[in-house]
């Protein structure tokens, strides 16, 4: 017996295994970042004073990065749509763009962190910086993970297109869901840390 519903959807649930699996994983990630947002709220409320994000962080850089990440989400969904239209070349182009934009995000992040370190702002300097570095750091780790997975699918993983187009498309859909989630976290993280 082979494992069913890898490629086809189960009729009564309307789902493939990977789709349900990735959404459940994302649910757990909501709780992970939720705990960090909760920590942010409690630490901020307890603090006698708390800096305005714009005073400490570089808002233009953060805004640029937000645009970059949202852009990568757009290219990701176009990569998936390309596969749905049987266009492997299109998929490779858009997936490449997604990875490129992600790496750009990381580079900008690197500049931001470096700047903070240069002026003596480390995680241990204040609770604001502690939560800033931790939340953006964990988010960055998620980006790195996503880049690795996406690169795999762009490279060796794309061989599956030759043997099982639907399963490969399902995998890209799952990778896309993860990637959009990473973007979603940043959409909340940016205003909370940089602007408020």
């Amino acid at each position: 017996m082979d494992i069913p519903y890898i490629v086809d959807e189960r009729p009564d649930t309307g789902l493939t295994n990977v789709k349900l699996g990735i959404w459940l994983f994302l649910a757990s990630e909501v709780m992970l970042f939720g705990a960090l947002f909760s920590s942010y709220v409690l630490l901020r409320l307890m603090a006698p004073d708390w800096p305005v994000g714009a005073e400490v962080l570089n808002v233009p850089m953060g805004t640029f990065n937000t645009a970059v990440l949202i852009g990568s989400s757009v290219t990701m969904v176009f990569a998936y749509a390309s596969l749905q239209m049987d266009n492997l070349a299109g998929f490779k182009k858009f997936m490449g763009a997604t990875i490129g934009l992600s790496l750009l995000f990381m580079v900008v992040k690197g500049f931001e962190y470096n700047h903070e370190f240069e002026i003596g702002n480390f995680p241990w300097t204040s609770t604001y910086l502690a939560i800033y570095f931790t939340m953006t750091g964990l988010h960055a780790l998620h980006i790195i993970g996503g880049v690795i997975v996406n690169a795999y699918f762009l490279g060796p993983g794309s061989k599956m297109w030759e043997t099982n187009k639907t399963q490969f498309t399902n995998r890209i859909e799952a990778a896309g869901l993860y990637w959009h989630f990473v973007d979603l976290v940043w959409i909340f993280l940016f205003p909370v840390l940089y602007l408020l």
Partner: protein
Amino acid sequence: MTTTEEAVQEAAEHGHEEHGHDEGFWRTYVFSVDHKVIGIQYAVTGLLFLLFGFTLMMLMRWQIAYPGEPIPLIGQWLGDERAPGGIMLPEFYNQLGAMHGTIMVFLGVVPLAVGGFGNFVLPLQIGAPDMAFPKLNMASYWTFFPGGVIMFASFFVPGGAANSGWTSYAPLSVFATTGQTMWLVGMVFLITSSLLGSVNFIVTTVQLRAPGLSFMRLPFFVWAQLVTAFLLLLAFPPLEAAGVLQLMDRVAGTSFFMPSGLVYADAPWDASGGGSVLLWQHLFWFLAHPEVYVLILPALGIVADIVANNTRKPIWGYRVLVASVIFLGFMSFIVWAHHMFLTGMGTTMSSFFQTTTMIISIPSVVILSALFLSLYGGSIRYTTPMLFALAFLPMFGIGGLTGLPLGLSAPDIHLHDTYYVIGHFHYVVAPGTLMALFGGIYYWFPKATGRKMNDMLGKIHFWGSFIAINVVFMPMFIQGLSGMNRRMYDGGAQYVMNQDVLYLNEVIGMGAWTLGFFQLFFIYNFFNSIKNGEKVGNNPWNATTLEWEAPSPPPHGNFATPPVAYRGPYEYSVPGAEKDFVMQGEPDQPAAEPAKV
């Protein structure tokens, strides 16, 4: 060989061919993706850690019963940093306490109950060939294993293992020795493993049910595992986050949990301050409360299956059980601060949590009542699994009832942090869950190995354990009610108020060592029966659920032909049927409903 057996043999060989012929020792037994192998790996590892955690406790009970006296036999091997002259140091006592809790909960019970039983039984009970994501399953075990190794290894670093309680409250845990860092890293591995597993369990249960197996025809064991998986999925991540934050406090000098103005070892603590110790408590207990339901739900599932089988009648109130277990799972997320009644919370918050805690006792009582009612009118077979399942019921009852004064904030003022709490939670987990798990092992051992465990040894194991375990935990209520605090290295001897109940320490110690002795029967029985146990066929217990249709042990792929479910899971003593049970997958019975898809 009959044609069925031939077909199975062929399927097994065909299965092997399909999946790449002879895969070699490592892929077959170590890095296997077969849920049965992984289940056994989890179960055996879990049992080993249970034994280790139990040994830690036996050491502790010596110190508590005879404070300052050299530990016999083992004392000399512990070394001067732990027990100079064989006399346990307080620092080592604290390590034993913290690690006993951590190991029993995270490395013992959960891997056995969820990783072991869940992995092995669940796909079989739903008629699936394996879990939805077999490779993820393997990854889950091999993430758990290093976590366990790190926890074990932490005993051997300078300063020893974590010693701030299994609860690792800040700021003590942030000040603590290296072992605490290893605890945190180990927990990250364990939580990740658990996460991978829980996704697998939910997808498998939803997607891979055999045709005809609707949700309301699932064995209660599967429902219990499904709710448990949701608890693990959603409740563990906050602890993972908190663990990372505490790691940063310890290693990077941040102040997530460190308030301003701390002084440690006569020096101001060199950090920015501004943190909150309560933040750690909130994040920790947000997991740790659902965690205790993770500890009990699989046991309830096991007991339900065993009770139905050994009363030869369906479980009472199946729908009520399902509704209760779902409600219980949901409520478990909003009761956690009943562990924090004494942290200075005001009356509003205390009332909120007290209310939710009282509400959550309702589904627990309903489930227990349904299981008790299932016995009424049954034709009870006192098999070894049934003995354990029967004992579970009143033991869980005691555990649950003793939780009530703890869940109410007023009596909790008196009882918090006393031995009463230890008695309460151990009753639920040890005479409760652990006994149910043993019952489950005796019950499903034949399915996993094709041989039964020895009955006489099983009964000796049961009676010895059952009596000893009550001797260990019942006196703790008395000690707690008289005010004896937890986690005291001298067993409470330094306080005047404890003097009248100090003698119970010796009683409890004797109970603990006796309990340890009786586990020897189980250990011998377990390993000996693998080779020499009485051979059995597919269904030695005359049970109804789908796993008993597969051969014992099932081959790779489990079922020669995909099973179909025609009826509910507990069709015992059906009027008009040939035998006193009708298997779930057996077609063409007068009572059968047409297969629903």
